[in-house]
């Protein structure tokens, strides 16, 4: 099964961490990706620019409306995702629990993908 791990973090909180902490998290992050990669579970990883760069398109009643900023104003913002391929939800959760941003305030949403095959 393929799962999407969506990583959320309060941007202000992350930007407020000292650089050494952020570097440390990113180093551990990289080795986390290396691990799932080596295990053949990694499909795709992307980090997004922060939400200040987002644009949202809506089309209520057929009239297109474009606004600055993300679709949903949440306490934590979606900052990146991993697409993984593993046995089942338990395996996906085991992978997600090891994501190093969790310990510095991050949240991960795990969702199965619709099989494109």
């Amino acid at each position: 099964m393929r799962y999407m791990l969506m990583c959320c973090m309060n941007e202000a909180h992350w930007n407020g961490l000292d650089e050494a902490t952020r570097d440390d998290v990113m180093t551990r992050y990289r080795s986390w990706v290396d691990q799932i990669d080596a295990a053949g579970q990694h499909v795709l990883t992307h980090q997004l620019m922060q939400t200040a760069t987002a644009t949202t398109l809506r089309s209520p009643a057929g009239r297109e409306v474009i606004t600055d900023g993300p679709f949903a104003e949440t306490r934590e913002q979606f900052g990146g995702f991993h697409l993984i391929d593993c046995e089942d939800l338990d395996a996906a959760l085991a992978i997600a629990r090891r994501i190093p941003t969790l310990a510095v305030g991050g949240t991960i949403e795990v969702r199965p993908l619709v099989d494109s095959a």
Binding site: L48, T53, L57, T107, I108
Partner: protein, 133 residues
């Protein structure tokens, strides 16, 4: 530049649709994906299962805690992702504004990828992933 586009949809809307309506919508979306491929803009598309299949992991008292349901309870839920190659944000907006999903489903959020991270890693993975498909 690469842009990630999040397609949202009120899930009640999906369940309210007739089978024929769903098919029409899916066909329209696939046709548009093809059009994006023609222009070399389509890098990847993924559909997510409904939000009630989601679980959320948080850190609590020194350990990862799992709860049912999506991270954010919004009326419209994330339903799919589209990874686009576009010249700039306006080009990405233009490509998405022709997407049938904006008309038929719900809002799209467009965000540029941070291509600096982790240096060269994402890109190579993405490329392998796409060619392996």
């Amino acid at each position: 530049m690469k842009y990630l586009c999040f397609g949202h949809m009120a899930e009640t809307r999906w369940t309210e649709m007739s089978a024929a309506e769903r098919q029409t919508m899916m066909a329209a979306c696939h046709a548009y994906d093809e059009e994006l491929k023609h222009g070399g803009h389509f890098l990847r598309g993924e559909a997510l299962q409904p939000a009630d299949s989601a679980v959320t992991v948080r850190w609590h008292n020194g350990e990862a805690v799992v709860t049912d349901g999506p991270y954010a309870e919004t009326r419209e839920q994330l339903g799919g992702l589209l990874l686009l190659e576009a010249r700039d944000m306006n080009h990405a907006i233009q490509l998405i504004s022709n997407h049938p999903g904006v008309r038929l489903c719900g809002p799209f959020e467009i965000r540029p990828l941070d291509e600096a991270f982790p240096e060269g890693f994402c890109d190579s993975m993405a490329d392998t992933a796409i060619t392996n498909q």
